[in-house]
């Protein structure tokens, strides 16, 4: 029971981390229609910037400054690369941002080496929040989850209660009309892109200390955040949160599960047959865990192509 509770809790926290990264992509891809494959690279940059800054500024200032630096990188990318490519369509955007993600990863390797760097949770945050069956649960996980929740509330309020939010939500549908009402749409998009990048940077700065900060971290998370945005529904912040939690929890439960289809068949007396056949029937759920998010995405795309909470005009 405690194991399941741990799995649920870990899954929730991992889901919240997915949300932190995909929140920015939801804004950028979902609302502006910009296909940015390099989004998770901003997550990685956030981790490396915070790692570099930490000895100079301390942890707290590092996780504030790193996202600001990443925002600067994001703004430059939008202004000087994506803005020129956007009009040529998604294929161009995908190729350019894919190239960009490779360039960023290679630059990180050149500067920091191919292996993980020693970016750690600071001592003052490295303690157990509580114990279950004698196992300590790290406070830092809850800290990451808390940041994600605060981020969700902040973005939600920004999008629904402020003028900027209204402009962002309308600009994706009718950019020309928004502009004719006196709003500088390219500037708004640049700002949104910068904020999206900063959110990913913050996620990296915070999560990089807990998980590992290595040159592959962008690649590992990059595809998953696209899955989240598609499953949640393009442009839906609530959908991104729901999809992140769904994928995080499913993943975490599956990793700890020894369930096999053969076990299910044993109940109806076909266990022996299943063991003989083997293959998928005797594969443990834990080894399928990595595939599950994609299976969920497949299901959602077939049953509900606009995503769990996709907004359609």
């Amino acid at each position: 029971m405690d194991q399941i509770l741990f799995a649920l809790l870990n899954g929730t926290i991992y889901g919240l981390l997915l949300f932190m990264v995909s929140a920015g992509l939801t804004l950028i891809f979902g609302m502006m229609g910009v296909l940015n494959f390099a989004h998770a690279s901003f997550y990685m940059l956030g981790a490396y910037f915070a790692y570099t800054l930490q000895p100079l500024t301390g942890f707290w200032l590092a996780i504030i400054l790193a996202p600001i630096l990443v925002m600067g990188v994001g703004i430059l990318v939008e202004r000087f690369i994506l803005r020129h490519v956007h009009e040529h369509g998604h294929a161009h955007e995908l190729l350019v941002t894919f190239g960009l993600s490779v360039v960023i990863a290679e630059m990180i390797k050149m500067v920091y080496g191919k292996f993980a760097v020693d970016y750690r949770v600071p001592a003052e945050l490295n303690f157990a929040a509580f114990s279950l069956s004698g196992i300590d649960y790290p406070f830092y996980r809850l800290f990451m989850g808390g940041i994600a929740v605060v981020m969700f509330i902040a973005i939600y309020l920004l999008l629904t209660k402020t003028r900027v939010g209204i402009v962002v939500r309308s600009a994706i549908y009718r950019p020309q009309m928004v502009e004719a009402l006196g709003h500088n749409v390219p500037m708004v998009f640049m700002g949104v892109f910068g904020i999206g990048a900063a959110l990913a940077g913050l996620a990296g700065a915070v999560a990089g200390a807990f998980y590992t900060t290595n040159p592959n971290m962008a690649l590992e998370l990059g595809v998953m955040v696209f899955v989240v945005v598609v499953v949640g529904g393009l442009g839906s912040m609530g959908g991104a949160m729901a999809a992140s939690l769904l994928i995080g929890i499913t993943n975490s439960l599956a990793v700890g599960s020894d369930f096999r289809i053969a076990d299910l068949l044993t109940w109806i007396g076909m266990g022996g047959w299943a063991e003989e056949i083997g293959g998928l029937l005797t594969m443990r759920m834990s080894s399928l865990a990595a595939t599950l998010p994609f299976f969920i995405m497949l299901l959602v795309l077939v049953l509900r192509p606009s995503g769990l909470m996709g907004e359609k005009e």
Binding site: R169, A180, G182
Partner: protein, 240 residues
């Protein structure tokens, strides 16, 4: 810069293209302060393109658009709006995913003089129906309500000149009358209006002057009475 005169908007030699199609062939007309000028003509005569071109949505390939003497041709449409030109498009282009209040908020800004002459309450006085539906998603409004919303949205930008494209198209006769009255009222409050209107009776009733367009040019300019006195113009350029 021209000296300040009674002319608020001066369009001079405006040419515009859609891709390779040459749509406007040197459109020239003036709008005086506090005046309502209607652009009349058949479909395809270039009236809507003239509006879009003034607004910077179809960038002019040649010519000048001067507002209070300042040339706006070639500027981005957000800058043109901030200078004091409001635009009510034929397609209405309301934001269907936003509420009525949020749509109005999209248009709200101080005028070029820094003052906010119009507020939401005034809009609800014009169109009480919008007040009842202020928290409703604009996508569920009727055509008439959407037209009211798009006019109010632009008016809240406190423009000096309003470009209003086909405001009565597809509306019930009762709402057509209300829209006509509102145009006259905002004009009384000092807003100059350029109106594109298919319904000749409405255009003649609210306009101080009319310009008839044909083949992307102004082919007649005068008061409604002067146009009435020239049935040959009506026959050649306006009759269906």
């Amino acid at each position: 810069m021209e000296s300040v005169s009674d002319t608020i908007l001066s369009v001079e030699g405006l040419h515009a293209h859609y891709g390779k199609s040459h749509i406007l062939h040197g459109v020239t007309f003036d709008v005086a302060r506090g005046e309502v000028v209607s652009l009349l003509g058949r479909n395809g005569s270039g009236r809507s393109t003239t509006m879009k071109s003034i607004m910077g949505l179809v960038p002019p390939s040649e010519g000048h658009v001067r507002l209070d003497g300042v040339d706006l041709a070639g500027q981005r449409s957000f800058a043109i709006c901030r200078r004091g030109i409001g635009y009510v498009p034929e397609e209405r282009e309301i934001f269907l995913n936003l509420t009525v209040d949020e749509n109005l908020e999209m248009g709200r800004q101080n005028g070029p003089d820094g003052a906010a002459k119009w507020d939401v309450d005034q809009m609800f006085t014009y169109f009480p129906r919008l007040k009842e539906r202020r928290n409703t998603r604009a996508g569920s409004l009727s055509g008439g309500e959407q037209q009211m919303l798009t006019m109010c949205r632009s008016l809240l930008g406190n423009p000096l000149v309003m470009l209003i494209d086909e405001p009565t198209e597809g509306l019930a006769p009762k709402i057509v009358t209300v829209v006509g009255e509102v145009i006259q009222d905002i004009n009384k409050h000092g807003v100059s209006v350029v109106l594109v209107e298919q319904k000749l009776t409405i255009a003649m009733q609210v306009s101080h002057r009319v310009c008839v367009m044909g083949h992307g040019q102004i082919v007649f300019e005068g008061t409604p009475d002067e146009l009435n006195a020239k049935p040959e113009i009506t026959d050649e350029w306006l009759a269906v």
